[in-house]
Symmetry: C2
Subunit: 336 residues, 2 copies
């Protein structure tokens, strides 16, 4: 797999991208990386590392999309030579099997929509992430692309998530649940109630009903669907909860020297937990419904997170998810 990597996405770009690319090659996360950005800067930075130079190619792009650029206007107008748009174009033009950027999610989505577009008949692409759960792998979508949804969008998210779970995780009949405030079918807002009824009769979807936030974290369903507003609030609450709990723990431990010794002894456990809850370990968010494999890594990614995102994108690209999603939606004439 050849992966196009935007070298100017993270907060500390291009350092994590360059080191992450080298790590990815060393660990055989993919065959080759097209590292996109200011050529001189990248070549100079790459000189610091020892690696198979045939497997990282620098592609020049003179501009950078910053976090402050308004997502769509930035990619629409002046940013044609930005590292982000060039990364997307390499994938679009078949020179790369997937595109990875740690830039602003809105900008990446806009660039992907404008340059690659949606899978035919997909109404809205959705951002999918992996929930950190007690067991197994749970995909959740949408976590931010569509803040106002209709029931039809959510049914398509269910399909995309289901196909993803099926081909990426090799799960036979993925259990799909609707994020809601109670298990009963009558629970929830208008959107949830209407979506519930549609999912009940949607063929080929293993709909297991409503799920609450706390149940979702147990990891007993494979796909959780929700509108992008609620999904984003939930995702950020999870991040915040983990950070807050560790901080509270740290502060309490400071006050008590016996607990301090205890904490030192249990340090590997904290490390494991931090890793498990850290989104960077999950490799990034997939723009499901885009007619390509485009992955967004977190802006705060370090080299390891970038390496994971590269590996993750290669695994998705070879999973067959995209081809099967295309096949399903292109042959479904009921959708527009």
């Amino acid at each position: 797999m050849i992966i196009a990597l935007d070298a100017f996405g993270t907060d500390h770009a291009p350092l994590p991208e360059v080191e992450g690319a080298v790590l990815a090659i060393k660990e055989n996360a993919c065959e080759k990386i097209l590292l996109v950005g200011k050529e001189e800067v990248l070549k100079k930075e790459l000189e610091k590392y020892y690696y198979d130079t045939n497997r990282i190619e620098v592609i020049n792009a003179s501009q950078v999309v910053t976090m402050d650029d308004k997502a769509s206007s930035s990619v629409r107008k002046s940013m044609k030579d930005s590292s982000l748009v060039q990364t997307i174009l390499l994938h679009k033009n078949g020179l790369a099997d997937a595109a990875v950027s740690a830039g602003n999610t809105g900008a990446v989505m806009a660039a992907a929509l404008l340059n690659i577009g949606r899978i035919k008949n997909v109404m809205r692409p959705a951002i999918s992430i992996h929930l950190p759960t007690l067991k197994g792998n749970t995909v959740m979508l949408d976590v931010g692309a569509n803040v106002d949804c209709t029931p039809d969008y959510l049914v398509q998210f269910a399909r995309l998530g289901s196909l993803y779970s099926q081909f990426f995780y090799k799960i036979d009949q993925p259990k799909v649940a609707l994020l809601n405030i109670g298990e009963e079918s009558v629970k929830g807002n208008e959107l949830a109630k209407k979506t519930y009824q549609l999912l009940l009769v949607e063929p080929g979807i293993n709909f297991v009903g409503n799920i609450e936030g706390k149940e979702a974290m147990k990891g007993e369903v494979n796909v959780v669907i929700c509108d992008g507003f609620v999904g984003n609030v939930m995702l950020k609450t999870l991040e915040g909860a983990a950070i807050s709990i560790f901080r509270m723990m740290k502060e309490q431990i400071k006050k008590d020297w016996i607990a301090k010794i205890g904490a030192m002894l249990s340090f590997p456990v904290y490390q494991y937990l931090k890793k498990k809850l850290d989104h960077s370990e999950h490799g990034g968010a997939l723009l499901t419904g885009i007619n390509g494999t485009v992955l967004v890594a977190h802006g705060s990614s370090n080299a390891i997170a970038i390496k994971n995102a590269v590996r993750f994108s290669a695994r998705i690209a070879e999973s067959g998810f995209l081809e099967h999603a295309r096949e399903f939606f292109e042959s479904s004439t009921s959708q527009t």
Copy 2:
């Protein structure tokens, strides 16, 4: 303060309620408790305890509203002699300064709405809770009463939350924030964007802008407002996150005997954290906007949680919040 306490709300009723009432009296959480439910059962249970018998009075109510009863129909029809409705009526009729129940939140809300009603000009009552934060006290509303909201409802929630923070916590100009998926004013769904604009021009509200879930947990704002669907998802995600993190920790600790010793030494820290994150320590949820002081405790409450809820309801009743909320809304003619 005299508190009416539904003795048949919790999952293990009436044991936690009876013991909780005795504890509340022993700790002077209030002057007197009217314990509502099956007289014979309660009197027999109370005989097990040593306490000032003048300060707990049993009020007979022969029926019980179960979790399975559909909220509104149960209180509307046959449940007039239920412990829940009788508890609410004692408060309505001025025999108690506040009402506390650990029953189904929907049923308590329905009973309060039907028997006490809303403060004049309040469009929708909201469920308010205290967020467990790193510092200070943050009130969040609505966490489940109104799953489909209009911007006007949210502006009223902001007012209710602000008055609550002002009178209960004695905070001079409570900082009010809107739960959203980003800080910028253009972020969010239609509801959030419209509410943002209304709050900007709402007199007497110290609106500090949008807040994300993870920021809310830092406790730097006093009031967080949101629609009841999103609020409920966030609340349950927090609960789930805490449970999951502790469970993951436990499982990892089991695998490593050094970490096990460490965990034993840091045990007081875990206890502190569990307590801090445990909603029962926060005393319950207030039905803000109801023309009375009605508190819902968690169905899984133990005696200590019930005691805390009683204490909490007494503190709210004496805070002046209700009187000031009435004064504000009754004189606001722009609302219907």
